[in-house]
Subunit: 515 residues, 2 copies
């Protein structure tokens, strides 16, 4: 039927319009059905809400939210034709998956396209993600999902160059700085490494958040390709390059609010971005330990094997390193503190916390071997020499400059939170555990990752001997209130546990290559 447009100038994150209950009956729609709005300039399909209020949408009117205007040009008072349309085919495909069915690649593509275009409601999108959680996907479906997710965004094209990358599964605080050491080492060795990564969602610092302390990370796809070709490496934000953009739709709308992370989507999320970024050789780092994202070696091996299989199907040769993730990596957590720690290690030629230096050198070494610029068994040595000779530092300065940052920045110039408080050891003994989850909670309560200067500096790691009254950690915040918040978290659940003796042998670093 013919209705007059009434624009609600607000975005709600869904394509939605509002009609009066009288017109709804005539059109034959009920709340959450869909209507097609046909105007002179084109048409759009929206979900429909129904109102009793003549003030909101009276008979003869159709209210449209601002999201709709991105799809079709409409103005207040425009006459449009409004008809019922059935849900898009992807909705019945989601129902198929909910019932445990297997999706073909065309079917997966249809769902991903509609999710990306905003054609699916929150309810439908949630049903899709939870169907993946409860019903799972086989490897063919995951391959389809990965390719479909990559296909709706940009693709980086490096021609025939051997492009490598490293990706960490995460969940361990302090790991956002890994890439700030690994990327310049690998780029120094002549390989191309366009490292794209996300901002923190649940953690106190994502690689993009930490790099942003040194240089802008919101680069376009073209800038990433250009800089990588010119200086060998880049550390950029995935979202600004629009690589596999539907992933963040899933995360923001469903996964983050519900704290769900279906395994098939973990694979597709990582690999779709690497596939879109044109990566040919990928090293996947899976930290394992209590309170890491992956808690058992068994799970790590399964995930690693699945990722390698998936990589093979995508033409991305994938190796997996299982690393020690039982406590924070390095001594700093939070964007500015981690950026500072990484820069100190680079500038000093490898001086710093062994847990980060050794991990970065080992992973970079594997990448040099995978990229064919170091013989098998000699990658780590080559990586260490690049770090110690300060070639990596020089390369990092080039990368910072190429991305628009200040290459001359000194670690001590990096501003950190001016409000700080030290927590001391209540008793003498050996450190039995440093809790990943509690350190994360403290750093986030202090304001990280939004407040770049917020975070935690850790003075005692697992196995260290401490005396009563000796500092265990220091909390940094940008406001007194947030410092208080963080202190309250730390007091309620102490992040560092001290025992009278060492209870078991500690492996400070356990790096298993392959699986």
């Amino acid at each position: 039927m013919k209705l007059r447009v009434k624009i609600f100038n607000v975005e709600i994150g869904e394509l939605r319009s509002v009609v009066n209950v009288e017109d709804a009956e005539k059109i034959g729609v009920t709340t959450r059905d869909r209507v097609k709005i046909s105007a002179e300039g084109g048409h759009v399909v929206t979900l429909v809400s129904i109102t009793n209020s003549r003030e909101v949408s009276g008979p003869g009117e159709i209210g449209v939210f601002a999201d709709v205007l991105k799809r079709v040009s409409l103005e207040d008072g425009d006459e449009v034709d409004v008809t019922y349309v059935p849900p898009p085919p992807s909705v019945s495909l989601i129902k198929k998956k909910m019932a445990g069915g297997r999706l073909t690649s065309e079917e997966v593509e249809a769902i991903i396209r509609d999710a990306y275009e905003g054609f699916l409601s929150d309810v439908e999108l949630t049903a899709f993600i939870l169907a993946l959680e409860y019903r799972g996907m086989d490897v063919d479906e995951v391959e389809s999902l990965t390719k479909a997710m990559a296909s709706v965004g940009n693709r980086l094209d490096f021609g025939d160059s051997l492009v490598v990358d490293k990706h960490g599964i995460g969940g361990v605080p302090g790991t956002s700085k890994d890439s700030l050491i690994i990327v310049p080492i690998v780029a120094s060795a002549g390989l191309l490494i366009p490292k794209t990564s996300s901002r923190a969602i649940m953690s106190p610092a994502g690689t993009a958040d930490t790099m942003e302390v040194l240089a802008p990370v919101d680069l376009t796809a073209e800038e990433i390709v250009e800089i990588t070709k010119r200086v060998g490496g880049v550390i950029a934000w995935t979202a600004s390059a629009n690589l596999s953009p539907v992933d963040s739709v899933f995360i923001e709308r469903v996964e983050y609010p519900l704290s769900v992370d279906p395994e098939s989507l973990i694979y597709a999320s990582i690999m779709s971005k690497k596939y879109a970024a044109g990566i040919r050789r990928l090293l996947l780092d899976i930290p394992v330990g209590p309170e890491a994202k992956v808690e058992s070696m068994r799970d790590a091996r399964r995930i690693g094997r699945n990722m390698a299989d998936l990589g093979e199907r995508l033409g991305i040769h994938t190796e997996v390193a299982i690393s020690y993730g039982g406590q924070p990596v390095g001594r700093c957590v939070g964007p500015a503190l981690e950026a500072r720690e990484a820069l100190e290690i680079l500038a000093s030629g490898g001086k710093g916390s062994r847990s980060i230096v050794e991990k970065a050198v080992a992973l970079a070494g594997i990448l040099l071997e995978m990229g064919g610029v170091a013989p098998i068994g000699y990658g780590e040595k080559a990586a260490r020499s690049i770090l110690e000779s300060r070639k990596a530092y020089q390369k990092m300065r080039e990368i910072i400059e190429a991305q628009g940052g200040d290459p001359d920045v000194k670690p001590e110039d990096i501003p950190v939170g001016e409000y700080k408080e030290t927590i001391n050891a209540p008793t003498s003994g050996y450190v039995a555990a440093v809790s990943n989850k509690t350190i994360v909670r403290i750093a986030r309560a202090a304001g990280a990752p939004r407040d770049k200067g917020a975070g935690v500096r850790i003075f005692a790691k697992r196995g260290d001997r401490v005396e009563a009254g000796q500092p265990l950690l220091e909390i940094y915040a940008e406001s007194p209130a947030k410092l208080q918040n963080a202190l309250e978290v730390a007091r309620a659940s102490p992040p560092i546990r001290i025992e009278g003796m060492v209870l078991e042998v500690i492996r400070e670093r356990s790096l298993i290559r392959g699986f």
Copy 2:
């Protein structure tokens, strides 16, 4: 922080507000987090959307949708205090259920209360329903769910009277008229039967839609109690009495869009309404057959046993009748056609299609026995005598009048769709099947249940002999376009299948009492 209110005068079905990205960072919220808005007159918690547009919500402003104004009084320009609040505890309880945990009665209550109050987002509500679908609930949890759902709406109070009711599981077209025959028989026998029922969601006619042809059904809780006490029975709409209102929230927001119907929620949905309506003895009718909601006797017995167990826990003595649901019941489908058919049967003292007359008499008879007004084994006879003596017709006239309808309405006075078309048998033979699903689709395409006069009249049922060219069914619609829609459905998938011979013995009616 302090913000100025900007009202968006439109309801979106969620409590939601919109802040500018600059303020969001200061408040420390991201999209789909929650904020507490504190004003002079009180406070409210809403989900928050974040906008880049200064036109929508500039820095210093907070846009609020009309839904929010129902919770707290706000006007354009009001200064309010806006702070981050964590998700309500019910969100982590939903996550607990998603992970397969068992919910206590307090935990179930918290979820139901928040769902009813509108505190849960579509994403969270979907997660709850799908957790019930995939994880299930044990009988203790279902009891908690039932009581919690009943507790957020009205409760009907009949004192010490013996209040009985009958509920059909549905899924078979033509069953909306059952109650129009059963209720007056049972009320004539001196029992109280306050039948509340829903409108159609997926079917062409709910009991409330069909009764509405004869009298208003949107009665308040007080009216239902008063009429039932006065004339013995009522046939009203559950929603207007506000019995277990959260059920329709689940249906409208999640179950209908996704076509899901978790078994635990089927139990809780039915029994919460009966519990809230003060029912003491309940007869549950489960039609079984191909294309019915319940397709196997095994499922019917399991569902019946679970309902009886649940009833016992609620103090509602529940018996179960498993009836034949392999084809439509009676000869008419659609609100006006079914109201007419029921009234014809009542006015004629029981003349009409055996499949509806015998079913109604059998179910009413069981209720008379359950209510203690007929000896065991004699209920059906007593019910038949009430129907044949036209006492039931007289009682129905009283009920219609009490609800505000015209007691003198004649079946032939009831208006049905003026556009109609007959479909004839393409060949001679025996009717092998009448498809429930196709009859539903035809009747809905013809406009039912919104168009009361739309529907289908069926001339040949399973086992009947038909000759080529003889009418099989007649489609009624209120507009030529809808008649065309219905004819297209009927042509694409013929609803009545004719075979040259009877393939198997037909049981026209198979009523099993108990289980």
